[in-house]
Symmetry: C2
Subunit: 514 residues, 2 copies
């Protein structure tokens, strides 16, 4: 893995913000390095600047020479691989198979589903030339694949015996964007998109809900990001869907991050793309389809949720490296290296992702770097530890000097101790985030306090709501907040909409959002 | 997995060839199905027609509404996933990490390496419009990523400590093509591309050769496709490379299939994209780069190499399904289903990829389908087997009625028997292909017989060669054959080029190629 160092491209700032990379010297030397690592802006002061700095300096991403496109560097890709591993296993466990569909969608095909076109055409990149040939029909680069997959399903599906079709695709998609924020808003991004076809509305809805739950479990149990799952309001619905469901996380600046969506498409796409089947009763019917997706945006949510002023804090299940060993070599005494290598080998054999950092930088520099990179556990071994047969375990989830951050243990219990500790850290990061979410989910009781909370980004502002688009638009115009997702009213809830006074129909989380 | 059935799109023929899908009836019924499965043209009569039919009917791929683009269906994607799994593990074992780079390359950037531009620009798809905006600079869709990755390496690399950089990317790429042949020639295809940067020419060459060997091992040990590894002639070299190495397989029609390439790029890209480093001696130097790639074309080679008149024969290590159980239900006696399920569970637990086919088609239809799909081992269990506690193992690598094709064994030894049998089948498929390759590698001794062999596609025609481009061009003009790859002359070899009589410099395999 490349070492932490100055990036020539770092001075580019996201969204034209105020922060610029502060490193200007030559290749990082031992002497200046720790100072440089500290040059991440405090998270609480300017989340945006902190976020960009961490993404670049922890070498998750680089900006590229292509406007709107980032490079996912090996350490960032390590996060993506863990997301893929966990989600893909969940997809397969629920009966889905992977496939791959073309990147291109002919213009005429894209135009068939009216709402879908209207929703996506402002964001589409068009290929108009191939080699030296001007195309007679431009090709859209997929912003999502309902159209091309629906077209294939229309060819593949003949009878009820062919249903359900349960397919997922891991792919790159392109949506024309001006702004760039690593993971959160990029022109090209990596995602997965599931596309299924069913014989009945009921089954399609069940699939939609099942995948929403797969996403919720991934977000909470793997990424340690607590979310609210619910249905989207009409205005926030996917273009062409009957209902859209989402999981929504809350970022430290009080903005919500939509982290995955699951769409019940009803028969809209089936009718637009003529996807029919002969049912058991011999009648030709349109299928019911669903689609659902999670992108690398989820990684942005993970970074913002868990990071601190020292950098990333990666939940163990998502960590490219779970444990890093730092042997401390003093006055030519390098016995610690052998101790670390032997312990690391034992952990690797037990299935953990481990590295021994034998580079010739100072320990202080390494501590800062691994803090920045958010490795859940660091193990330090110095000459005195070698004499005593001990090692110092340092937990990244605890603050510097916090009780339990450092523990000295016998080297030979490391392999027994660390798996449990990783679980504890996973849980602790989730608990911290859950506490934040719960303490930032205020129930607004009246219009004035509700609007003030929306303006102040008080969190996921929870109200009884009328579910009228006009009401949502008014709140948005006044405060910038929109509904994130909705759930049924309880009998104990207010009878009238907190925002407008009309009869309440649902409970809604309002928030400004990414 | 979707069942075998008529594809409405099947009637489209590849390369304007003569074969058309013969199915014209309604959804396949039990009665007509076995006949339909047999409607694959004989492999020996028309490989091209056989190939297209197998790819479509085994549901590896479908044609798409986008010219030149195919859909990789779940069963085909299963092959790709196994390729990925094996290659990715080899890459990681040799110290490489995955990353992801942008799909787009700005025109001005692509134009910097002259040979590279000349080689690729006729094949580039161009994005000229984003949303409603006409771009001031068109964006190329990557035909390969040397340019964008080299640009990033120029930013990332500062000193010798940053070297080597060993990165691989799994990605889609686009090369503008008129013809479509599933896997072999498509406008968009999936591949991996490794890109590395090194401090010395020696190290870059070592990397190039290491990855060539990784590819050779994958082709032979996993895909069971024997290959010749060697260096390409100048005319066949990658645009911008110092040397290109390849592995070349021989297809049953006597044409060679280039199955992977590994390029030593020297300092060509480093100079064009200004990739420099401060060496230990403080001097600023250009790095040495390599790139290497294998695409889904390898799957086309696997299909053509192993298939027979009944369809695919997939080597077990690449098989999406290694074992399929067909329980035979007669007169309501369905005890075989439980026997199969229990045995299948045991195999699954032991790590094998297994399915029980409980669909309500006739056994004969299922046999034909699993033959077509090339599953290495089928296990049949009928009512009499249940009484006797036995099962019939049917090997796909042996012909119908061939000795050892079917063996009756006790059900309770299946889990012990099958792993060894899978290894045997893997080896047997390799051996068959190896015998074919060796018996089709004639050494031509004089010009006339050499040219006749080239014209007749006699195989990998092995000659002492002068290594002159003008000689190669003359052979190509006369016969269509080119050099596939080269290796050093031995002292016992002819002193003069068999093709032209000039002094011999190397040994070369000549063949017509895909």
């Amino acid at each position: 893995m490349p070492t932490l160092r100055r990036e020539r491209g770092d001075t580019r700032s996201a969204e034209g913000g105020t922060w610029r990379a502060l490193e200007t010297g030559p290749v990082m030397s031992d002497a200046v390095a720790p100072a440089v690592v500290k040059e991440i802006p405090p998270k609480a002061v300017d989340l945006s600047a902190w976020y960009t700095a961490v993404c670049l300096k922890a070498e998750l991403v680089s900006y590229s020479p292509v406007r709107g496109c980032i490079v996912l560097r090996p350490y960032g890709f390590g996060l993506w691989e863990n997301l893929q591993k966990h989600l893909d296993a969940s997809f397969k466990a629920t009966g889905h198979e992977n496939a791959y569909f073309p990147l291109f969608i002919p213009e005429s095909l894209l135009m068939k589903e009216a709402e879908h076109v209207e929703g996506f055409s402002p964001e589409v990149a068009w290929v108009t030339r191939g080699g030296s040939e001007e195309l007679t029909e431009p090709l859209a680069i997929r912003p999502t694949s309902e159209v091309i997959i629906g077209t294939m399903y229309a060819q593949w599906i003949e009878s009820y015996r062919d249903l359900p079709i349960l397919i997922n695709q891991w792919a790159n998609v392109v949506r024309w964007e001006k702004a760039t924020r690593p993971f959160l808003r990029t022109m090209e991004f990596l995602w997965q998109e599931g596309h299924t076809a069913h014989a009945s509305a009921h089954e399609a809805r069940e699939e939609t809900m099942q995948m929403l739950e797969v996403y919720r479990r991934f977000a909470e149990d793997v990424a340690a990001v607590p979310v609210y799952a619910g249905v989207k309001s009409e205005s926030e619905r996917f273009p062409g869907a009957v209902e859209t469901f989402s999981i929504e996380a809350l970022m430290p600046d009080g903005r919500a991050l939509q982290s995955a969506t699951s769409h019940d498409l009803g028969q809209n796409f089936a009718k637009a793309y003529d996807i029919t089947f002969a049912d058991a009763d011999q009648r030709i019917k349109h299928v019911y389809t669903t689609s659902w997706g999670m992108s690398w945006r989820m990684l942005g949510g993970l970074i913002m949720t868990h990071g601190d002023d020292r950098g990333l804090r990666i939940p163990p299940k998502m960590a490219p490296l779970e444990v890093v060993f730092v042997p401390i070599v003093r006055s030519g005494d390098d016995r610690a290296v052998a101790v670390c290598r032997s312990a690391a080998e034992e952990l690797t054999k037990a299935g953990m992702r481990v590295r021994v950092d034998t580079r010739d930088q100072q320990p202080g520099w390494k501590y800062s770097e691994w803090d920045l990179r958010g490795v859940p556990i660091r193990v330090d071994v110095g000459p005195r530890d070698v004499d005593a047969g001990t090692a110092v375990i340092v937990r990244r989830d605890r603050g510097k000097g916090e009780s339990g951050q450092k523990t000295t243990v016998a080297v030979d219990v490391l392999a027994r101790t660390i798996p449990g500790l990783l679980e504890e850290i996973q849980q602790s990061l989730y608990d911290q985030a859950k506490t934040f979410l719960e303490s930032h989910t205020p129930r607004a009781g009246d219009r004035e306090s509700f609007l003030a909370m929306c303006r102040d980004r008080a969190g996921m502002i929870d109200i009884a709501w009328c579910s009228r688009a006009v009401c949502e638009a008014a709140v948005k115009a006044e405060t910038g907040a929109t509904t994130r997702n909705l759930r049924p009213l309880a009998t104990s809830d207010e009878a009238t909409c907190v925002a407008c006074g009309e009869p309440a129909k649902v409970r809604a989380y309002f928030a400004q959002s990414y």
